[in-house]
């Protein structure tokens, strides 16, 4: 009997899921927080619809721990870049996408020209793996 139970629970201890942690920095990518939830716990956790995210209210600009924004760019643009580092980098590399279009609108640039110019200057914008939102914006400005 014990063996059967052990087997059952072994079968149940399957899925582990990992979730990306909150964006604690302004760089490319986040540390991943591994979330060890056995299937058994998942079945029982269905009742709360699984909320693991941090709960915040009324985020104000500048709480992301990023370097102080350049004076020429609004706080919102700074926050946008900081929160969308990977998506924006991917869009710029591809020459199109939702993030780069949003940035073009924020900076009051023509979308097509903006995306195209940034794509051809990708390596001047994302100069290293440690580049952060402020650096990206400064580099974009230099390229425009």
């Amino acid at each position: 009997m014990k063996k059967i139970l052990a087997l059952t629970f072994t079968l149940a201890t399957l899925a582990t899921s990992a979730i990306a942690g909150p964006n604690t920095g302004c760089g490319l990518g986040n540390e991943v927080i591994k979330n060890q939830n056995t299937v058994l716990m998942q079945v029982l956790a269905v009742t709360t619809n699984g909320t693991f995210g941090n709960q915040t209210f009324g985020i104000s600009f500048g709480t992301l721990g990023c370097a102080k924004p350049a004076s020429w760019v609004g706080a919102e643009t700074q926050q946008f870049v900081a929160l969308n580092m990977e998506g924006l980098a991917a869009d710029i590399a591809k020459g199109q996408g939702e993030a780069v279009d949003t940035l073009a609108d924020l900076m009051k640039q023509d979308r097509a020209t903006f995306a195209s110019k940034l794509q051809s200057n990708f390596d001047k914008i994302y100069t290293s793996t440690s580049v952060d939102a402020s650096a990206v914006l400064s580099n974009i400005k230099a390229v425009l």
């Binding site: 009997m1 059967i4 139970l5 059952t8 079968l11 149940a12 399957l14 899925a15 899921s17 990992a18 979730i19 990306a20 909150p22 760089g27 490319l28 990518g29 986040n30 591994k34 939830n37 056995t38 299937v39 058994l40 716990m41 998942q42 079945v43 029982l44 956790a45 269905v46 009742t47 709360t48 619809n49 699984g50 909320t51 995210g53 941090n54 709960q55 915040t56 209210f57 009324g58 104000s60 600009f61 919102e76 969308n84 990977e86 980098a89 991917a90 869009d91 710029i92 590399a93 591809k94 020459g95 199109q96 996408g97 939702e98 949003t102 609108d105 051809s120 994302y126 793996t129 440690s130």
Partner: protein
């Protein structure tokens, strides 16, 4: 607190003196006296307090949300208390430097009327909700204030606008212009998510989704223990709170971390209504209400916000015993709120789409591109630029997917990511004819699956005629929620079956009206995650509840002659067992995912009959299910239990199933069940034919 009491006594004396002097400092505006009762019944006021239409109790449980001590059950008292408080602090401010009114700190204060709290310690304590900076009632309750000023001209004339730094900052940041209802679907291998979730998104005037702010209601759970989750979630022992945070954060959580597809339903709320929505959400900061998984959950609570934005809506009063997220979306659609729909595939879904366009050589290279340990110098790229672009786009997704599985360090991830981006940046744009890179596909895009409003309703009622040899009867079926692989598939997560409290009764015999419970499955979850070149999840299933030992059987006019199974007393040929079953296996998709094949190994622990001892069993299941069109499906399945002595005296099962779906909420079913192998004539199992109809409401 003696000091407080003496202060109150002093104030009471002052109050008496002031009234004796005929001063009007404490009186409410004259126009209120006659209209308070009428205004308190206004749907707009009731909506701001979360009173569903026709109900006497607010849905909000936190007493700190209310200014009147009986505010939770008396909208009029709450209205009067709010007006009083607004008026009061206005007078105080006019006299300069008085402390703001601190609502509902102390019942004693309230009993004496809304007296300004001049105790510095209380106001510095920050025990009020939202009390960090903006202590004024005007600032804490901007929606109430705006509405009251609109309805009470005297009040509007009297009130000066007070500085509300924190509220103003939020308003400036969020810029409410339009609103979207967002539905992150469940994802396989996570039953915790399988009903999906709903949240709102508030967008600025240019309607960039990535600049929007999510409004989300969730239970505040500290535990890791699954049993505690279940118990607390069902019985309302968690406090639920609203939160506002950047939508892009939520996107990352759902699309990358949890691999969930998302639908975004643009709502036709006007900018003024969206302003009221945001004002009201602000009022709810820190105000908890108990989270009940079945009914007062995330989706239900959002409906209160929509009512606050547009008080003519009545979405909350008709709540039944349970509220399912996809039902609320259909409800919002029926209320005429939906404008248009967008679909955001999860990263896993994008990968599935991309990998279909890659050759086997490309896929091999892709696996290496997604592994930072592999040296880029050894990569041999496809010569075709278009193919190379696709490969790189896929590799970016794949690398992120691998990173979310925590297979390598952040720095290794960044280096490889940057390398891939650099390579990609030299190749220009994808042609329009290739896979679109805009993540939000319009619902009209053929690549977008159907959204939940196209899905069948969640309660299923069925009546099925069954025939077995010379016996015939009817099965009556009731399933309150949710969906399985033999239902019409549109609008539901592919491969996910989840059933709650599914009951089947057998009625048999024209003359002898016998009725018997065949099955009561408390929970049944089937997670058929399809394998692909890149993604190789397990598929699994869990169910527990009561079922007959011989599932495909009738009542026993013939059974009396049969030899009962040697493990059971003679009188119980087909007992109702309580059993827990778990299985694990693999599933595959073919023919552009219209054909599903699955195989799993299963373990069972069951009672022999009623509660007479336990036994364990190992078994298997093998099957296929084909969905040639949205209107019909068919499938074959074989299963058996192998190891227990009880099982070995019974045949295995095979079945053929055919489903036809003339409309969203009607389904016709045909099933042929066939015992086979090992003593096919033993016990009550016989070939059984069923034909029935399911209705969804």
């Amino acid at each position: 607190m003696p000091a407080l009491i003496s202060t109150s006594r002093i104030k009471s004396t002052i109050l008496v003196c002031l009234l004796a002097c005929g001063c009007n400092s404490w009186a409410t505006p004259p126009s209120l006296a006659s209209s308070a009762a009428r205004l308190a019944t206004d749907p707009a006021w009731r909506a701001l307090l979360h009173f569903p239409k026709g109900q006497a109790l607010s849905l909000i449980d936190d007493s700190r949300f209310f200014l009147a001590p009986n505010g939770q059950s008396d909208p009029q008292a709450e209205l009067q208390a709010t007006v009083q408080a607004l008026y009061q602090e206005n007078q105080n401010q006019a006299q300069a430097n008085a402390a703001p009114v601190v609502p509902k700190q102390d019942a004693q204060l309230e009993k004496n009327g809304t007296e300004a709290d001049t105790e510095p310690s209380a106001s510095a304590n920050n025990t009020n909700i939202g009390s960090e900076n903006d202590k004024f009632v005007q600032c804490r309750y901007p929606a109430r204030t705006a509405w009251l000023k609109e309805k009470i001209p005297d009040l509007a004339a009297e009130l000066h606008s007070l500085p509300c730094p924190r509220w103003s900052a939020l308003l400036q940041q969020v810029q409410p212009h339009s609103a979207t209802l967002v539905f992150p679907d469940g994802y396989l291998n996570s039953p915790a998510s399988m009903f999906g979730h709903t949240l709102l998104r508030i967008d600025p005037p240019q309607e960039h989704a990535l600049r929007g702010y999510a409004v989300n209601y969730a239970a505040q759970t500290a535990e890791e223990n699954g049993l505690a989750y279940a118990f607390n979630g069902i019985f309302g022992l968690y406090k639920g709170l609203f939160s506002i945070l950047p939508y892009s954060e939520k996107l990352k959580e759902y699309q990358f971390g949890e691999q969930r597809d998302m639908w975004e339903f643009r709502l036709n709320l006007s900018p003024a209504e969206n302003l009221r929505l945001l004002q009201h959400v602000w009022e709810l900061e820190g105000a908890y209400s108990y989270y009940y998984f079945f009914d007062k959950n995330c989706s239900y609570r959002l409906l209160s916000l929509l009512e606050a934005a547009r008080p003519s809506l009545d979405l909350t009063s008709a709540k039944g015993l349970w509220v399912i997220p996809s039902d609320t979306i259909r409800q919002v659609q029926e209320a005429g709120l939906l404008l248009h729909t967008s679909y955001r595939p999860s990263q896993a879904q994008k990968l599935r789409g991309l990998e279909k366009q890659l050759s086997p050589e490309d896929l091999t290279l892709l696996a290496r591109l997604g592994d930072p340990a592999q040296d880029p110098a050894n990569f041999r790229w496809p010569s075709d630029t278009r193919q190379k672009r696709l490969l790189l786009d896929a590799s970016l997704e794949y690398l992120q997917y691998q990173h979310s599985k925590q297979n390598f360090s952040l720095e290794a991830y960044r280096q490889r990511y940057l390398y891939l981006l650099n390579e990609r940046s030299r190749l220009g744009k994808l042609a329009a004819s290739q896979t679109p890179t805009n993540p939000a596909l319009a619902q009209t895009d053929p690549a977008a699956p159907q959204d939940p409003t196209a899905g069948h309703n969640t309660t299923r009622i069925g009546i099925t005629g069954v025939s077995q040899g010379s016996d015939s009867g009817y099965l009556l079926q009731l399933r309150p929620a949710y969906h399985d692989m033999r239902d019409r598939q549109a609008g539901y997560l592919q491969g996910a079956g989840i059933e709650f409290v599914s009951a089947t009764m057998l009625m048999q015999g024209q003359s002898s009206k016998k009725i018997q419970l065949q099955e009561l499955n408390l929970v049944s979850i089937d997670s058929m995650a399809r394998q692909s070149a890149l993604l190789k999840p397990w598929s699994w299933n869990v169910q527990f509840g009561w079922a007959r030992l011989h599932p495909a059987s009738m009542l026993d006019s013939t059974n009396a002659e049969e030899t009962a199974s040697p493990q059971l007393p003679k009188t119980e040929t087909n007992p109702l067992q309580f059993r827990v079953i778990g299985g694990i296996g693999k599933a595959y998709g073919w023919l552009d995912d219209s054909l599903l094949t699955y195989a799993d190994l299963r373990a069972k622990i069951a009672t022999r009959s009623q509660w007479n001892g336990l036994y364990a069993d190992l078994g298997w299941r093998l099957g296929m299910q084909h969905y040639p069109s949205p209107s019909w499906s068919w499938g074959l399945q074989a299963s058996g239990w192998e190891t227990s002595t009880l099982a070995q005296s019974m045949p295995r099962q095979a079945e053929f199933h055919l489903g036809y779906y003339p409309s969203k909420d009607i389904a016709l079913h045909f099933k042929q069940e066939q015992p086979w192998g090992r003593n096919p004539g033993a016990g009550p199992s016989r070939p059984r034919t069923s034909l029935g109809i399911h209705l969804f409401r």
